[in-house]
């Protein structure tokens, strides 16, 4: 069938000029979903690399993030993808590796600069093969408007009770919307809600691993509790939050209309560019003073080698550079909020980014519970959590129903390895 197809295609396109691809000795194209970073790559990162590696020309070719997964898969399959592929964490990249589309990188220069945790998002289940160079992780927490806090003489909350007391205070004052979050896009509710505050309840990695092992269920109290907390957020969100989109939330906060923003660290740079007030940040409040705190510190971006790329040698040189401390420093400082995964400590200049990363010292980091292994099947646990978290905040589902639905979905395909 394919041959017939190609034949017919060829027949109908004889009149067309052959699309000659100019073969330079080494030009590399990076496939990415990070449209946001185009200027950083063009102005800072690529010149730094090219200065050291004359003869290699790098192009950063981002596309709309929503199209990335399907577009890059189609291109990999047909052999037109760039030499370097930006890797989503966990199963999406693992699937590419299993199809032979990404090369193993175990012997890459500099891959030793990363801890096993850093590499976990791009390593096979048996822990033997790594196929992407880790680039950055993102941390969750809350960003607040310092001016608003000063006006209200508010303190940064440490416990959940303090947190809700603060929300009540802001609400009573009436000048600010207590918290900028909407449920329309659904992912905000899960990513900035459930995954943000949940680790304190399910005790980070402990709970996450127990879920994978099957010794805990999503219907256990530790997993239902964050939904109960989320359900209490409703009165503190802005009017019509059901139709509030993610950009709406961002704008509400940066225009100074809301006091607190449940955040991911990736907001740091754009918020700095847009807000005309000082900002601070605090980690998810714990239940009782003195409890161990947990934070979501999620491996988010890596970069891999297209197994069918045209310039594997040059591409490996580039990847080795990405694995170097030099890149880590450049990247983390150009994009405050995307924290380096390199074992070499990176000095960051941005105070807000420093604040976020300082939590790593006192709190135990964990990744999003739906990302690894339990996120592999259908229905997709991550998307299910988006949906039910939004429902819980909207009040159309009780925390128990939400938990039950996600567990039921998980049970339908997932059998823990005993």
């Amino acid at each position: 069938m394919t041959r017939l197809l190609k034949g017919m295609l060829f027949a109908t396109t004889m009149f067309a000029p052959a699309g000659a691809v100019l073969a330079q000795d080494a030009s590399l194209t990076i496939e990415s979903w990070r449209n946001d970073d185009l200027s950083i790559w063009q102005e800072k990162l690529i010149p730094a690399f090219e200065a050291k590696n004359p003869g290699i020309k790098v192009t950063f070719a981002p596309m709309a993030p929503t199209e990335y997964n399907s577009a890059v898969n189609a291109k990999l399959e047909a052999g037109t993808a760039g030499d370097l592929i930006t890797c989503r964490p966990f199963d999406l990249s693992l699937a590419m590796f299993q199809k032979g589309q990404l090369s193993p990188l175990n012997d890459l220069d500099g891959i030793g600069n990363f801890s096993d945790t850093a590499k976990s998002a791009w390593t096979t289940d048996d822990g033997k093969t790594t196929f992407c160079v880790p680039m950055a992780s993102v941390i969750h927490g809350f960003i607040y408007n310092k001016k608003a806090f000063e006006e209200l003489k508010a303190e940064v909350p440490k416990t959940e009770d303090e947190f809700f007391a603060l929300l009540d205070k802001i609400k009573a004052d009436g000048n600010y919307i207590p918290m900028a979050m909407g449920t329309k896009d659904q992912w905000e509710a899960a990513t900035m809600g459930y995954y943000n505050i949940g680790p304190n309840d399910w005790k980070g990695e402990e709970g996450r691993k127990a879920l994978i092992a099957g010794t805990q269920k999503l219907t256990d109290a530790d997993w239902v509790e964050p939904y109960k907390t989320l359900a209490k957020w409703k009165p503190y969100l802005g009017d019509g939050f059901e139709a509030q989109t993610y950009p709406d939330s961002q704008n509400l906060f940066t225009l100074g209309r809301a006091a607190i923003y449940p955040a991911g660290s990736w907001e740091i740079a754009p918020f700095k560019a847009q807000a005309d007030f000082e900002m601070g940040a605090f980690p998810p409040p714990v239940k009782k003073a003195g409890d161990t705190c947990y934070i979501s510190d999620h491996n988010d971006i890596g970069i891999g080698l297209n197994a069918k790329g045209k310039n594997p040698e040059a591409a490996k040189k580039f990847l080795a550079w990405v694995a170097s401390p030099e890149f880590a420093t450049l990247y983390a400082n150009s994009l405050p909020g995307f924290f380096s995964l390199n074992s070499t400590a990176v000095k960051m200049e941005d105070p807000l980014a420093q604040e976020f990363v300082s939590w790593r010292q006192n709190c135990k980091p964990t990744i999003r519970p739906s990302a690894a292994i339990v996120g592999r099947g259908q229905p997709n646990l991550d998307l299910e959590m988006w949906r039910v978290s939004a429902n819980v905040i909207n009040g159309t589902q009780t925390p128990e129903q939400a938990a039950e639905e996600t567990q039921k979905g998980l049970d339908s395909w997932y059998k823990p390895v005993k």
Binding site: T2, L5, K6, L9, F10, T12, T13, A16, P17, A18, G19, A20, V21, W33, R34, N35, D36, L38, A61, P62, M63, A64, P65, E67, A71, A74, K75, E77, A78, G79, T80, P247, Q250, N251, L255, W266, E267, P270, Q274
Partner: protein, 279 residues
Amino acid sequence: MATARTSYLRTGLIHLALISYTLIALFPVFLTLVNSFKTRNAIFREPMAIPTPSTFSLVGYETVLKQGDFIGYFQNSLIVTVVSIALVLLFGAMAAFALSEYRFRGNLLMGLYLALGIMIPIRLGTVAILQGMVAAGLVNTLTALVLVYTAQGLPLAIFILSEFMRTVSDDLKNAGRIDGLSEYAIFFRLVLPLVRPAMATVAVFTMIPIWNDLWFPLILVPGEATKTVTLGAQMFIGQFVTNWNAVLSALSLAILPVLVLYVIFSRQLIRGITSGAVK
């Protein structure tokens, strides 16, 4: 006198209805344009406000012109759209004529076969199409897009045109045959001018999805030299932050060429009638 008054009243009511609907149609477009000339903060502080000296900003348009070769992108989009429309109209009208004019074995089946394409989104065939284009060496050429859009536009064109061609008088065609015209001459000289309104309609319907398509440019021609406007504008849509100034500016500008094409085509509606009256 009474009839004249009712006719005035009627015309008045018609204008009232049309003006109301025009307002509904244009209000969001007006908002888009107004906001494309404002600073980001002003867009969200007061989306309804007309730009004032303090909020007026061309930053969106400047970003668009600075980032990438937008003139070139427009050119690519225009070439692809116009060539695809031409091919769809020519091939589509020929096939529609064959289907509506001649009785032959498998006519109905052929009609159904050629209509299948409007029932499945062509996007599903992406991988095979891309592989075919790779084999034919057409990746990163505008030809690849033209071929895909021609194939995509044909089913609808044939479907609509064959319906309209059935309304062309048999007497006229038979008279032509008696005058010794070949079937080709009958098609090109007698039938085509009569279905001009339908051709214009098809041209407009074909043009819209082509002009606004993001997917196939992304897959087939992502190269800088062959980028289309829609693909060029998507670079401002980020993962977490979208540069709405730039998106609104780029896409507001992108309306103009299609609007001009629309005006050109929709004039054919009237022309078709006047030429039809001569027959």
